[in-house]
């Protein structure tokens, strides 16, 4: 192939790396009012009174808004296709505040300093309630986090908000207890993952203004322009046609910007005051007042017969939705499809959770979206099972690994794994790590031990039967092309990848195409970039749109060159006749003729396609971690990480590799460094980069990534996805490596030195 499989630099690299204006903050209109949010110091309280008279007296303060000023229509901030699975449980401002940091009042001023001054003089009287801070006591707690009667579910998700149950899910296939009894080996453990924070380097930020048609224009660092427009319409109680959402270049997302955040507050101010306004979250606000991964406590049991077959997978979780139900149900259910099918030879499966409201910051979407959480206990338990059985951890996995054409107890009827070079990936990873050639546990020096650990992972590619993308490609009047997409490149290079796929069909170089993205007034609908969907879903739509445009162009050339369509050879820019007439014509010559009434049939040529998939083909990854453990302090140092990914056809190898490296290191952060700690009264103590330690370049060890390329029959050119699967192996692979190194069986994240040290002491 000409473009697919080639490592192009990202089309916007030069501009971005020269520091030119590109991000939301670089584009704020002059004289935009500055917004600051007064936030709750209490984890659960009812506002009895807000007195902001003193704030309004400060010169430069434009307005203060409270819960009394906002529309009383509940909505969800979750970026999901309508009808959203997440409960409508939020207001722009509510009389009840549900976590420390929840919004109490919106302060609008001429500049930041004045707005902050105004925040300081607002007097709020609260009725403070006993907060719900422990998932174990959340259900039927005397405090109801969402006592309101106007909370709406679009579909049944097992929610009982009056009992603090946001939603619940259970799937049981087969007889768990009977099958466990019949097993020769059973392992059981409780694992806990934390509500880690995505920590995109660019915090949440939005500016809004009113355009010449009296419409609201919302420019925001978002992954979901169309969902956001719909949410804004509901929250502000105005028609969506009155709203335009524009996403400029964004500084990272990792799922955090799949949930609206700063947008509602800023849009409300501009709509109310009809003046431009801007809201930029501080790092503290970004980490404390947005959405995180969901914390879950997992009780897992695995049973195997002595022939090495895993007969039972029993996973029961208690999940922390936090204060709002954003992505609460879907992150849990997504985890099922992306973990359990790995091992499909057994007879019984249970996958179950109550997802409870608490007075913590709400959970949301974070790269991996439930799969990372589910694979953590599953892969740790598989390693534990292998040890118990005296089997090599990889051998046990290979014996139980799903194969192409096979189904799973949790697949839909008729659903099978359609592609994947799973065993090949495992073999390759073994070779990279020299798994068979060396011990998996060794003494490095007097005080350090080394260990190897392994984990496997699936993910999905898009949301099956739900998310649908449209792509439009125009032949412009100068003979070049413009591709229009509502997907949102957040730095991954998805615009470049879409162009590679479209240019593969058209035949032209990338230089002859422009990609215009994420402006709801201009581009066709796309759910946005999340769920590892852009290359697979939007990319396939891009290929189809390019095919339609190409056939229209060829037909038009045939008319202009007076030959049959089959006698046209077209390379994307130039058409040549093949009937011996030896005529040529370029798109630059053709296109101007199509937009004046001189030619045979004026018609600007456009290719358009809409595509969604019946399935969400899983990419696959093998991760092998090599760590060193200081047996005197418990300090774990990652040395090397060996990874092999099967993401189907690779469109851009360099960008795919960086996706993998970046995902692995985010996973290492979750595994080893990123601790989420609440005080006893519900203050998030780890809400900045001083206390929430994402990995630096000295904390990662060396990352080695390779690929095997299967061909996914449903995706354009055989593509699947890469964005999320790559974060899923780090935690369990590191856990296994620590276990092998020193015998410490860690069950909670992050695996910091204190925990390793205590586990070592306990073993002694």
């Amino acid at each position: 192939m000409k473009h697919v499989g080639k490592s192009y630099k990202k089309v916007d690299a030069k501009t971005i790396l020269s520091g030119r204006a590109a991000y939301t903050e670089d584009l704020i209109p002059a004289n935009a009012l500055v917004i600051k949010i007064l936030r709750s110091p209490h984890a659960m309280a009812k506002i009895l009174d807000i007195n902001y008279a003193a704030a309004l007296k400060i010169p430069g303060v434009e307005a203060v808004f409270t819960y009394k000023d906002v529309p009383q229509v509940r909505f969800t901030l979750a970026g999901q296709t309508y009808p959203e699975v997440s409960a409508y449980d939020s207001l722009i401002l509510d009389q009840i505040v549900r976590y420390v940091g929840d919004a109490v009042a919106i302060v609008v001023a001429q500049d930041e300093k004045t707005a902050l001054q105004a925040c300081d003089v607002i007097k709020v009287q609260y009725e403070v309630m006993e907060p719900v801070l422990d998932i174990h006591t959340a259900i039927d707690h005397p405090t109801v986090v969402h006592p309101e009667d106007d909370l709406i579910y679009n579909m049944p998700v097992g929610g009982e908000p009056k009992r603090n149950i946001a939603c619940s899910y259970s799937r049981v296939v087969g007889d768990i207890e009977a099958e466990l009894k019949a097993c020769d080996y059973v392992v059981e453990d409780t694992y806990f993952d934390q509500a880690t924070v995505q920590s995109a380097m660019e915090t949440f930020r939005t500016f809004c203004y009113i355009d010449q048609f009296d419409r609201l224009v919302c420019t925001s660092s978002t992954q979901i322009p169309f969902h956001l427009r719909r949410h804004l319409a509901r929250a502000l109680d105005i028609p969506a046609s009155k709203i335009r959402v524009i996403k400029p270049r964004i500084g990272g997302g990792f799922g955090s910007k799949q949930t609206a955040c700063s947008e509602m507050l800023c849009a409300f101010v501009t709509w109310k005051l009809k003046k431009p306004a801007v809201l930029i979250y501080t790092r503290h606000e970004a980490n404390n007042c947005s959405t995180s991964r969901h914390a879950r406590e997992w009780n897992i049991r695995l049973g195997a017969t002595k022939d090495g077959i895993i007969q039972v997978i029993d996973m029961v979780a208690l999940s922390d939705a936090g204060a709002y139900g954003t992505h609460a149900f879907t992150t849990f259910t997504a985890g099922e499809h992306k973990s359990i099918p790995l091992y499909n030879k057994g007879k019984a499966v249970r996958y179950e959770s109550k997802i409870v409201y608490t007075n913590h910051m709400a959970g949301g979407a974070f790269r991996g979206y439930g799969a990372t959480e589910a694979l953590w206990p599953l892969e740790c338990a598989v390693t534990k099972l292998a040890k118990k059985m005296g089997m090599d951890e990889i051998e046990l996995r290979l014996k139980n690994l799903i194969d192409v054409g096979e189904t799973s107890l949790v697949y839909e009827p008729g659903e099978v794994l359609e592609s994947g070079l799973l065993k090949e990936a495992v073999e390759k990873a073994k070779q990279m790590a020299r798994w068979d050639e060396r011990p998996h546990s060794w003494q490095i020096d007097e005080t350090h031990r080394g260990g190897l650990g392994v984990a496997l992972a699936f993910q999905g590619s898009g949301v099956a039967k739900f998310d649908v993308a449209s792509v439009e490609i125009k032949l412009q009047d100068d003979g070049n092309y413009t591709l229009y997409t509502g997907s949102t490149d957040m730095g991954t290079g998805s615009n470049t990848v879409l162009m590679q796929m479209a240019c593969e069909v058209l035949g032209c170089p990338l230089e002859n195409m422009t990609c215009y993205e994420a402006d709801t007034d201009v581009v066709p609908f796309d759910p946005g970039s999340y769920a590892s969907s852009t290359t697979y879903v939007t990319g396939t739509a891009a290929k189809m749109a390019a095919e339609e445009l190409r056939s229209k162009i060829v037909a038009t050339f045939a008319k202009y060159l007076d030959v049959a369509e089959r006698d046209i050879e077209f390379d994307g820019l130039t058409a040549r006749t093949l009937d011996g007439s030896n005529k040529t014509m370029t798109t630059a010559e053709l296109a101007p003729k199509l937009v004046v009434s001189l030619g045979p049939e004026p018609e600007q040529l456009v290719g358009f396609a809409t595509w969604g998939s019946h399935t969400s083909p899983p990419p696959f990854m093998v991760g092998i971690a090599e760590v060193s453990v200081d047996t005197e302090t418990g300090q774990v140092t990652p040395l090397d990480y060996y990874a092999v990914v099967d993401c189907g056809t690779i469109v851009n190898p360099t960008l795919a590799k960086v996706q993998a490296e970046g995902g692995i290191v985010q996973g290492l952060g979750m595994a080893l460094y990123e601790e989420v700690r609440y005080s006893s009264n519900g203050h998030l103590e780890t809400n900045n980069f001083m206390t929430y330690k994402i990995p630096t370049r000295q904390d990662t060890g060396r990352i080695h990534v390779d690929f095997v390329e299967s061909h996914e029959p449903t995706g354009a050119f055989g593509v699947k996805s890469i964005g999320e699967v790559v974060i899923n192996t780090s935690c369990p692979a590191v856990q296994g490596a620590i276990l092998n190194a020193c015998g410490a069986n860690l069950t909670t994240l992050p695996m910091i030195s204190e925990k390793v040290f205590h586990a070592l002491m306990a073993n002694e």
């Binding site: 030069k14 020269s18 995505q198 660019e202 630096t696 370049r697 990352i703």
Partner: protein, 156 residues
């Protein structure tokens, strides 16, 4: 208060608040390569040079810069383009938000060490956080850039 600043070799008169940090002044003057990623001096996104040394402009009062040479990425455009190209060829730009600050440290490392080892580069750039890349592509890009600069015999 009105002060004179020398930014990228050019003397400019600017009006600042007494407690204003340099990042705010620079961004207001249109130097958008300087970005803010945290409130706690942890991320390194706002890295610029004062008299050739890297500093965090988020916590450097503007008045302190009076009489000193301030350099941002825009002032090193030619060299930044070479480094940028080396990084882009490794896909190391990703979201790009932290990259310009990191590039200021990378261009400084070439001036601090004659032939920096990977260990020295990692050590010098440890304060420049990145959430996208996992850092490996940064290293590949920087090593490439150092080779290019050497082959072109550009003096630090």
């Amino acid at each position: 208060m009105d002060v004179q600043l020398k930014i990228n070799g050019k003397v400019t008169k600017v009006s600042i608040e007494p407690d204003e940090m340099l990042i705010k002044t620079l961004r207001r003057e249109g130097f958008y390569s300087v970005r803010c990623g945290c409130d706690t001096m942890n991320c390194g996104l706002c890295t610029v040079w004062i008299d050739g040394d890297t500093i965090l402009s988020c916590s450097y009062p503007t008045f302190r810069a009076v009489g000193h040479e301030i350099t941002t990425l825009e002032g090193l455009a030619e060299e930044a383009a070479i480094l940028g190209d080396c990084l882009a060829s490794e896909g190391a730009d990703q979201c790009g938000y932290c990259t310009t600050g990191m590039m200021m440290s990378a261009m400084a490392v070439r001036r601090k060490y004659e032939n920096p080892t990977e260990e020295e580069i990692r050590d010098y750039l440890v304060g420049n956080l990145c959430r996208c890349t996992g850092y490996e592509s940064h290293m590949r890009g920087i090593v490439k850039y150092l080779e290019v600069m050497k082959s072109q015999e550009v003096a630090p």
